[in-house]
Symmetry: C2
Subunit: 142 residues, 2 copies
Amino acid sequence: MRTLNPRGKTLVDLWLASELLSARIDHTLGAVHGIGYVEFMVLYQLAHSPGLRMRRVDLATAIGRTASGVTRLLRPMEKTGLVARDSSDRDARVSLVTLTPAGRQRLEDALSTMNELGQRLTQSVGDSQLDSTAAALAILRD
Amino acid sequence: MRTLNPRGKTLVDLWLASELLSARIDHTLGAVHGIGYVEFMVLYQLAHSPGLRMRRVDLATAIGRTASGVTRLLRPMEKTGLVARDSSDRDARVSLVTLTPAGRQRLEDALSTMNELGQRLTQSVGDSQLDSTAAALAILRD
DNA sequence: GACTTATACTTGACATATCAAGTATAAGTG
DNA sequence: CACTTATACTTGATATGTCAAGTATAAGTC
């Protein structure tokens, strides 16, 4: 049977590693902070954007979701006050997502859990190998 | 604001890289072969298992899904004849999933697409860095 | 061998995502 | 300026996944 070449296999390994780890992270974040991995990423991206706010389209591409998905994802987050809605004075089509103080606080809490998870889940990988992996992943994001 | 430590950040980078790449791979596989990334992984795992068959639970853990998810995932694949159902003579609870010739052929076709995608999507990462990354991902799978 | 506990799978209820289409506004073009 | 095209967002229909509970069979225990 035909087999995968090294780069094709890397794609598969990436998918497998991500799926398995994400499930565990998702459960932990859910149990400890009441948010899923995707919601964590929303808070994280907002915290790293200028003014703690983003357009919904930009958020969508940043987290690999569609605009429609973002609309539905943010609705409950608005209700629980983790994010809020703002309008742009330059473009009336735009609806900005902003990080509320409550969202900021929730992110703070979740960050420490993520740090612990990072230590635990990657403990069998050495520092130098991890550095090289992180660098490669950053490149692959584009 | 508190920040992620290097290992926490690696988790985030892994998630981002995987989400963004998976979306593209999923679309390509769907357009060219009529299967999604998860379905490809089912065929791939079956092809690499002894006898081209697996228990549903084992398949579930292998691809990071629940048993329930596997039940629902396989139903359409059985209908289209990519996989078939078999029973175990050792354990009457077990329902084995087997790779059909049609499934095997579909996998063959998809493998070449995956190889091309692998080349294209990882072209900006050098060989040695990719090797190290693949090794790290393999470790992280557990 | 009867009784408890564990495992394999399926199903109902629900969560979360996509796509295609619709609305509103902006930007480009003659 | 009128007209076409592009962009930002939302919504209806639908796909795909989870969890909790149920059924069937196996394995462990006394």
